[in-house]
Symmetry: C2
Subunit: 104 residues, 2 copies
DNA sequence: GACTCGTATAACCTATCGGTTATATAATTT
DNA sequence: AAATTATATAACCGATAGGTTATACGAGTC
């Protein structure tokens, strides 16, 4: 599985998008995050692992807590791809419009 | 599953991203697409169905052919979300930088 | 040193995914 | 109308995802 596959797969889960959203507010320990969801602590822990593995979040060990925050690297990866795809799609849309115009 | 979940899930598969890429060049019938992959015709047909269901592609029936092309609607959906997320992340990054600066 | 706390991992279950082959269906061609 | 072509669907299978409960483990606390 390529980095990109994993990143998209990670973003496909609503719980993980919600975690990213909350972390965009401020870094938080795993416990605070998991208490915010109606699923078990291990379940959230697993989601955090997935996000870690695709570098969308980073962890800082602070005593027995794990402080999670967004990771610049992962964010940049996604942003780069999105930009590239935007360009491609822009081209495609232009072609599409041209096509539509020739067929009124 | 929300529209967004499905869209990301659809994009998580490399075959489907490749299909979108090829369609960004030009609209094509299903057969031409499926011949370009080293998997069975039904497998590609299923990928096309997934892309159809999340409105990333559209089909035009032309005799016994199905001409596939990118769908503006699906593209816009993704673009909108990406823009929104970009903004959020921009904010988060700013906060992150501020945090980093106060802790040299 | 025993206890508790915060978090991760293990083992397990069910549902879904992505592939296969076989088959159906609709449009052409002969 | 029979055969062929383009494509989709059905039935099946192994792998993976995401949840659960039970358990391990390292860091503070008594």
């Amino acid at each position: 599985m390529s980095r990109l596959d994993s990143a998209f797969a990670a973003l496909a889960d609503p719980t993980r998008r919600e975690i990213l959203h909350r972390l965009s507010g401020q870094p938080q320990p795993a416990g605070a995050l998991s208490r915010g969801f109606r699923m078990s602590q291990p379940a959230v822990s697993r989601h955090l692992r997935v996000l870690r593995e695709v570098s969308l979040v980073e962890v800082e060990e602070k005593g027995r807590q794990r402080i999670y925050r967004l990771s610049k690297r992962g964010i940049d990866d996604v942003a780069d791809y999105v930009e590239e795809v935007s360009k491609t799609w822009q081209t495609a849309l232009t072609a599409f419009k041209r096509y539509a115009e020739t067929r009124p």
